[in-house]
Symmetry: C2
Subunit: 110 residues, 2 copies
DNA sequence: ATAACCTATCGTAATATTGCGATAAAGGGA
DNA sequence: TCCCTTTATCGCAATATTACGATAGGTTAT
């Protein structure tokens, strides 16, 4: 064992978990914040802003791309990354309904 | 290496990452959904609802407690878990501002 | 006291993640 | 063509996470 048993959970639950992983590491949070503020966009600029080695940043960018929350446009020899607004909106919607679910229900248990 | 270099990131970034970890595993998403819907609250009921062994569920509950998003009240011999509304509100606020930040900015880069 | 029940913890195994040096790949310009 | 710049990938090491059987701990009921 050691691997997450994804097959026993719903599509929705797995998607939420995947989207959350985009924010589950401070380096990725920093990258996303930089992309939003547009203080950086090109991979090299991100490396300059972050106290991490270039391969490490590249790996985090790859993970964010896998999740779909960013997209990269090659502009040789650079690659310009930006937020994928469609997936960002999905995350907004998903976390919005999850986090607002508590409001509609009433806590009466313990 | 292999450990996250938490010391080089801001408190805020590390807190966001930690809160996101609560949602970064489908089992924890399922647990939180059950706690919200109050289909279960007692540890044993959660184990019944989830296709995971009791120690595994207990471990996820421990992680959620570490983050602070749930709290457990012992009601011997049971333990009744529920959402910690204060931290849940923190998460709502944190993810809300992060996910809404894109709206205020305008995407003009790539 | 002992039995029964419920949950936590320990120990272990398997897999995943994080980080980085070295190196490859891809394109532009001399 | 040969470099130069930039990014991706490989390979490795260290640490973290996930999962569960076995067992311990704590409380109630008998």
């Amino acid at each position: 064992m050691g691997a997450t048993k994804t097959e026993i959970f719903s599509e929705q639950q797995n998607r939420i978990a995947d989207l959350a992983k985009a924010f589950a590491h401070p380096a990725r949070v920093a990258i996303l914040q930089l992309l939003i503020a547009k203080k950086a966009c090109v991979c090299g600029d991100l490396v300059d802003e972050l106290p991490l080695a270039q391969p490490t940043v590249s790996q985090h960018l790859k993970e964010l791309k896998r999740i779909g929350i960013i997209k990269g446009e090659i502009d040789p020899p650079r690659v310009c990354y930006c937020i994928n607004e469609t997936v960002w909106e999905e995350a907004r919607q998903v976390f919005g309904s999850l986090l607002n679910a508590l409001m509609t229900e009433k806590t009466t248990c313990c």
